[in-house]
């Protein structure tokens, strides 16, 4: 989101971000303050838990400083405090309190996948008198959005940039869920002068539209206001992964040289995106918009000279298409939009506007860095924009191209921003193009930055801890396994045959359920006393295994994910052989994790239980019931081997690939945290802009300058000054530039 030094300046200095910076910094300083000596018994923590060690300090740390600070209020209530005796029980209790607090903080997040690891550790053990140690709780979560969601800017800008960022599924789903969010802002811009305003978002749960957004800002020089109803839908298909729609009204009144541009437009927009395609994760985007309204400007004569309309109605149909692809080192985005427009309520097209936008962000990371050292990636951002208006009748002046240091977008308010005017940071907003603008333009913008100072996300002591990556990787593997299981259900055609062949088993188990309900809970009198306990246990067990198996077979849409547990034996010789002897009398009935129960499939377990039950029923002279039970057992036995073979033949690689694709939105987080993200970094910035507008007798314009970028995690605030080497009247010798954007490091 590049802007002139206007509304964004004070927004960037607004409370949330100041607090965020401070919080991250203080956490990091605290983390850096810890000494780095270790403990002599790292594998025997009980060594320190015999009342012989006192707690020197308790820390709650996280790579995301804000996470740790959201837990800071919990610290005085933790069981372990400074000078208390260290105990493992108390340490674990503290970890559980932290987990409960995290659960509360993250409960509103609506993410598809969240991984969280909480470690309790001891460190800095002083093993001679006075015996002391530090207690450290480490918290790492992929749900970082929950901690940033209170700032409107972050959530919106995260999905706003066409060049460097793409809205990830997780980010899109994890939008702030507060019912009402209000953000005031103010700023200064030479064109707009001192301005102030606010943004308000009201969440509308349960309806077609998910939010109502009001955005208004004003100054003595001009005003902008918009009201939008927006919603989204996630079909999750390859060709249509996400759909967003918006109904809005936008009113603009801004100066342009000695003219004024006023426009009021009603907009209905649709936007769609595919899933990431191929190894390069190409996301294809497409959309359309209908607009209608009116426009007024002050200079009728000037408008006439360029075959334009100073005041008129306005109607348009816009479509746009583009793509974004990302690798570890670069993000590339290209967009094209076309607009067919009229001067009002007519089908006669007055002009056709074409715009194109190509953006590249790339980074070069230095080689091996020392733990605790800021990551010093050289970043290059390049953007090429161009457009042309083909006039068939008359073009409303406000639809012509105007340039300056505030970017104008093809579809205002849309999450996908395609530039629709020359962007040059050395010329104030709307001062390039004179009073009536132009019909063709191009601009090239280059920005180079490299951190010279900062703190990395992973503090030194955590970067050197070998156990953390192990646990974190394990959590990711669990996630991928569960996703693979769920994706098996997306291939019903692969499982159609086996599900058909399971029908007789399902019918038999349904009959079994009826029979089991008729059997007496209490052992029949005819049963010998030494078998009465076994009868109750076997009956209960059979009911449970039968119910679980029956439920799995009944819900066919989700059956593929359960088939392995139903069918696959870990030890075929044991499971497919004769039934094992019943478990000993004293074995916990419900905790049926005896070897046959865990090495054999659900079908086999049910078969064994049915065999036991039939034997008990015969001893109780319930012959008819025993025959029925054995009938079900026989059906299971006769079908099981061929079902197992059929299951083995099913190709499950498609589900694995889909799970891997999902994990692509999560696994890069760990890599980015470890290798790329700085908690705080300060970078010098160099910029170079070239822009041209036709007709404009001033020719090609340049901007050259520098500034400073402050990065907090992946949120960048850039402030600088661009010189205008060939300035014209009303332009000045240059202009301040200001931008706030989010770099998508998690790619």
């Amino acid at each position: 989101m590049n802007q002139s030094l206007s509304l964004s300046l004070l927004r960037s200095l607004s409370a949330p971000w100041v607090v965020l910076c401070w919080l991250c910094l203080t956490t990091q300083v605290a983390a850096q303050g810890a000494t780095t000596s270790s403990c002599s018994h790292p594998r025997q923590p009980e060594f320190y838990s015999q009342g012989n060690y006192r707690v020197r300090e308790v820390y709650i740390k996280s790579p995301f400083g804000l996470v740790a600070h959201s837990l800071a209020a919990l610290k005085p209530n933790l069981p372990l405090q400074r000078d208390s005796d260290f105990s493992l029980d108390a340490s674990s209790a503290g970890r559980r309190m932290i987990e409960a607090k995290l659960q509360e903080v993250e409960k509103n997040a609506d993410q598809r996948l969240r991984i969280r690891v909480v470690l309790a550790e001891i460190d800095n053990c002083h093993e001679s008198d006075p015996r002391q140690l530090d207690v450290i709780y480490w918290v790492v979560t992929t749900d970082y959005n929950s901690y940033f969601s209170h700032t409107w800017e972050f959530k919106n800008d995260e999905s706003a940039r066409p060049a460097a960022t793409v809205t990830t599924a997780a980010a899109a789903a994890g939008r702030a869920r507060s019912l009402l969010t209000i953000s005031p802002y103010a700023g200064y811009n030479r064109t707009r002068q001192l301005s102030g305003g606010g943004q308000a978002r009201l969440r509308l749960p349960g309806g077609i539209f998910e939010s109502l957004d009001l955005n208004a800002s004003g100054s003595p020089a001009g005003s902008i206001a918009s009201l939008d109803l927006s919603g989204a839908w996630t079909p999750g298909r390859t060709a249509l992964n996400r759909v967003e729609y918006r109904l809005g009204y936008r009113r603009v009144d801004l100066p342009a040289d000695n003219n004024r541009l006023r426009q009021g437009v009603m907009q209905l927009q649709f936007f769609g995106a595919t899933k990431p395609l191929g190894d390069r994760k190409l996301v294809v985007r497409f959309g359309a918009a209908m607009e209608g309204g009116n426009q007024q400007t002050d200079l009728t004569g000037e408008a006439e000279t360029v075959r334009s309309l100073a005041s008129s109605g306005y109607g348009a149909l816009k479509t746009y298409l583009g793509g974004t692809l990302r690798t570890e080192r670069y993000a590339l985005a290209g967009s094209y939009g076309v607009q067919l427009a009229t001067r009002g309520a007519t089908v006669a097209v007055d002009f056709v506007k074409h715009v194109g936008d190509l953006a590249l962000t790339t980074r070069w990371l230095p080689g091996q860095q020392k733990p605790g050292e800021a990551h010093k990636a050289l970043t290059l951002e390049a953007q090429l924009s161009g457009g042309v208006i083909r006039t068939l009748g008359r073009t409303p002046v406000t639809e012509r191209f105007f340039g300056g240091n505030a970017a104008q977008y093809f579809i205002s308010g849309d999450n996908w921003r395609i530039r629709s005017g020359p962007f040059i940071r050395s010329i104030p907003q709307n001062r390039m193009g004179g009073a009536v603008g132009g019909t063709r333009f191009y601009s090239v913008n280059l920005t180079v930055a490299r951190p010279v100072w900062g703190y990395p996300m992973i503090p030194k002591e955590m970067a050197a801890d070998p156990e953390f990556p192990e646990k974190w990787q394990g959590a990711q593997d669990i996630a991928q396994s569960v996703l693979t299981g769920t994706y098996l259900n997306r291939f019903p055609e692969s499982f159609a045959g086996i599900i058909t062949h399971l029908a007789p088993v399902e019918a038999a188990i349904a009959e079994l359920k009826v029979l089991l309900n008729l059997l007496p809970d209490d052992p029949p009198d005819e049963l010998p006393s030494n078998l009465r306990g076994q009868y109750q246990r076997t009956l209960r067990h059979t009911i449970t295994v039968g119910a679980v198996t029956g439920r799995a077979l009944k819900e066919k849409a989700e059956l593929p994910s359960k088939l392995e547990a139903l069918l696959k034996e870990k030890d075929s010789a044991t499971c497919m052989g004769p039934p094992l002897p019943p478990p000993p009398e004293d074995e916990d009935v419900e905790d049926d994790t005896s070897e046959d129960q865990i090495t054999c499939s659900k079908f086999t377990r049910l078969r064994f239980e049915l065999g036991d039950l039939a034997g008990l029923l015969r001893q109780a002279n319930l012959t008819a019931e025993a025959d029925k039970v054995e009938g079900v057992q026989a059906i299971l036995a006769s079908r099981q081997i061929e079902l197992i073979e059929e299951f083995k033949q099913i190709d499950k690689s498609g589900a694995q690939r889909m799970a891997e694709a999902d994990m692509d939105s999560v696994t890069p987080i760990l890599k980015a945290i470890k290798d790329e993200i700085n908690l705080l970094a300060v970078s010098p910035v160099a910029i170079f802009d070239v822009a041209r507008l036709w007709p404009d007798r001033n020719g090609t314009r340049f901007g050259l300058g520098g500034g400073v970028r402050v990065t907090v995690v992946n949120f960048n605030v850039t402030l600088g000054y661009a010189f205008n080497p060939d300035s014209r009247p009303r332009e000045g010798r240059g202009a301040f530039f200001f931008s706030m954007d989010v770099t998508d490091l998690f790619r």
Binding site: P45, D89, E99, I115, G206, G474, A475, T484, R551, K562
Partner: protein, 122 residues
């Protein structure tokens, strides 16, 4: 540094966005030298994607000593395919328990088996 206890907590919304599965595996060494491994299993559902999830069941089980090595392997290397399938069976069992079809301890046993059914080869 020495790790005294940890938890690995995973939340997955199924691709149809109608079920939310929460699995948490935690290890707590005790003062007396023993170790507790716990597994928490939560299931939330909704009938339409536009609705909020509602909790179906939450189960917390203590793992047997005999399965601690498997729990450790699971925490380090993830679930194997049989364990994964057992997650969904446990999910069914949890729902059956919430409906009163089977006793809650039986559903807890199915959750416990998510760790217990791990193959010994890995």
């Amino acid at each position: 540094m020495a790790i005294t206890s940890f938890s690995v907590d995973l939340l997955v919304v199924t691709p149809n966005q109608l079920r939310k599965i929460n699995i948490k595996l935690s290890k707590d060494p005790k003062d007396g030298g023993s170790v507790d491994w716990m597994m928490d299993f939560g299931l939330e559902e909704r009938s339409k994607t536009t609705e909020d999830f509602h909790e179906v069941v939450k189960l917390s089980v203590k793992l047997k000593q005999a399965h601690h090595d498997k729990a450790d392997q699971t925490a380090k290397k993830g679930l194997d395919s049989t364990q994964t399938s057992q997650v969904f069976i446990a999910s069914d069992a949890a729902k059956l328990a919430s409906e009163g079809e089977i006793p809650k301890p039986s559903a807890q046993a199915e959750v416990r088996k998510v760790i217990a059914v791990r193959g010994t080869g890995d």
